[in-house]
């Protein structure tokens, strides 16, 4: 015998209430974190903060110029390496989905996506840092590039798979050679999707600390030398957050604020691109 309908309706409404409660409660910690970082960080940020290197403990002032430049250089370098490789691999995967190589590289993308960032750090340490005998920005870039690859590959592949076959067939029937079809028809049509994948991957790696710990290490001074240790935003936060000095904590709040602004902007850019071209990632 089923319970009375009134009871069942009540249960149903109660369940809905619980679901809504749990679904919205989760926004609270995010809002608290964001507001706190903004509150603590925004007072730190000024021109002096952005253009100076960190001051020694006890001294007022100092900034994060070296970390800003370092992060920028390393992420750009990583993008320069990862974007072509990722796009080519993505094109290959979407053009030849049935080959054995495609199966295995698809598997590798899945694996790479799940590899903990700290493991990437260890491996790049043995690939780059140890042979050259010094921590270097180059190592950091390679580690970041490895982390960017799966995101770029997957977004390229997904976008290109959505393009209608007739597009490619039309171009081929006009006698256009295959490589030109890819370059002039397929890639431009899927450009927005690929671009959103690139911005997303940059947003993902710009906050990565673990792979940089053993590769780029960090540097108290301003440096643009790729073969030497280089500072980065997340690393500066890690170092100063775990230090015992209040001045340094303030620096770290400021750096967190800047990092957050970068990450959020990149995410919004990605959103706008995907919204405009109606792509599902």
């Amino acid at each position: 015998m089923e319970p009375k309908i009134g009871m069942r309706n009540l249960k149903s409404s109660a369940f809905k209430g619980v679901i809504i409660f749990f679904a919205f409660v989760i926004t609270i910690p995010l809002i608290i974190i964001l507001l706190y970082i903004i509150k603590q960080g925004i007072t730190q940020v000024n021109w002096h903060f952005l253009t100076n290197v960190p001051a020694p403990p006890g001294e007022k002032g100092g900034g994060i110029a070296n970390a800003l430049v370092g992060s920028f250089i390393m992420v750009m370098l990583a993008a320069v390496a990862a974007v072509p490789i990722g796009m080519l691999a993505g094109i290959y995967l979407s053009e030849n989905p049935r080959t054995k190589l495609a199966y295995y590289s698809g598997l590798c993308v899945d694996i790479l996506q799940g590899v903990p960032s700290i493991v990437v750090g260890i491996v790049v340490y043995f690939w780059v840092v140890k042979p050259f005998g010094t921590f270097s920005a180059l190592g950091g870039s390679i580690a970041l590039a490895i982390m960017m690859l799966p995101i770029i590959i997957r977004s390229t592949e997904q976008t290109l798979k959505l393009l209608p076959d007739s597009l490619k067939e039309a171009a081929l029937s006009l006698g256009v050679p295959y490589h030109r079809v890819i370059l002039k028809v397929i890639v431009p049509c899927g450009f927005a999707g690929i671009l959103s994948g690139i911005t997303l991957s940059i947003a993902r790696v710009i906050g990565e600390t673990a792979p940089l710990l053993f590769t780029a290490l960090g540097n108290r001074f301003f440096s643009t030398n790729l073969t030497k240790p280089m500072e980065s935003l997340p690393h500066v936060i890690f170092n100063y957050a775990t230090s015992p000095y209040d001045d340094w904590h303030d620096l770290a709040w400021g750096a967190s604020f800047i990092l957050l602004v970068f990450v959020l902007t990149l995410n919004i850019v990605t959103k706008v691109i995907t919204r405009k071209w109606k792509i599902q990632l």
């Binding site: 679904a23 706190y36 700290i118």
Partner: protein, 279 residues
């Protein structure tokens, strides 16, 4: 270029295995349940870190599951369209976008004092940092992974199934419990697996909050609330100061174990999802 990808993975695996060989040779399989981690005397047992990793991940998972399921059900079934659902969906994606270092930093300055007051009230040694603190932050961080997959899966439930149940007079709760849940069960489980994979490998936030103690706790209370260590946090803390080969290679073996575990978990999760979406 795809070959390049396969080469990277093979290279990663070979590097990890070769570099951890000295440790594998000296400790053998005992490495996994050796209880002592003492670099000074060259004794390496990964057991405390295995326990720490599993503990933080599972506590985080248990905390996160109600939330990610609720978000999935709400956005997949109750409110799939409209500005409110867009807002919530974007917020959840934002949670995934915030770098882990920022969670760690925030946790260190806000959550740790809170937990400390709680521990004083519960009459436990008030470390503040510890397994429980790390798990809370970890839970927040992994919620989006389970949730976003859940939303897609719940939206894929064919509407004739739901309509049939409604036509028989089922209430919304009954439809969710008896139609949607059984239909999506395996897929939601895959989502849990994927967030577990995330939680196992998470490094920075955990390193900053777990307290980094290599000793294994004696009582249950200390195990949950006291400081601990995970595989990833040990590597992050000690890799740079490892001064002899065996020490270094013991740390890399930790990385190898971590790599193997996360790869297996991720592949199982992905396999379930592909099978689910193809049917």
């Amino acid at each position: 270029m795809s070959i390049f990808l396969v080469l990277i993975i093979i290279g990663v695996l070979i590097t990890l295995i070769v570099e951890s060989l000295p440790s594998i040779k000296s400790s053998g399989i005992k490495y996994l349940w050796g209880k002592v981690w003492d670099p000074v005397q060259n004794i390496y047992g990964a057991y405390p870190f295995l326990v720490g990793t599993l503990l933080t991940s599972f506590i985080a998972l248990i905390i996160s599951i109600p939330f990610s399921y609720a978000i999935a059900i709400y956005l997949g079934e109750y409110n799939p369209k409209g500005w409110l659902s867009d807002l919530l969906k974007n917020t959840v994606e934002l949670i995934a976008a915030v770098p882990s270092i920022i969670y760690g930093f925030w946790g260190l300055f806000i959550l740790v004092p809170l937990i400390r007051t709680l521990e004083i009230k519960l009459q436990i040694i008030p470390f503040g940092v510890g397994v429980f603190t790390a798990s809370i932050i970890l839970a927040v961080m992994i919620i989006p992974y389970g949730a976003s997959l859940g939303i897609t899966l719940i939206r894929m439930v064919p509407s004739p199934l739901k309509e049939g149940a409604y036509a028989l007079g089922a209430t919304r709760f009954e439809v969710i419990r008896k139609v949607i849940m059984p239909y999506t069960r395996t897929g939601l489980f895959a989502g849990v697996l994927l967030s577990l994979g995330r939680a196992l490998g998470e490094t920075m936030a955990v390193t900053m909050l777990i307290g980094n103690s290599t000793a294994i706790a004696d009582t249950f209370k200390n195990l949950i609330f006291g400081p601990g260590n995970t595989m990833a946090s040990v590597i992050a803390n000690e890799f740079a100061e490892a001064d002899h080969t065996l020490y270094l290679s013991a740390l890399i073996e930790l990385g190898l174990v971590l790599f193997a575990v996360t790869v297996v978990i991720n592949l199982i999760g992905k396999r379930i999802i592909t099978r689910f979406t193809n049917n």
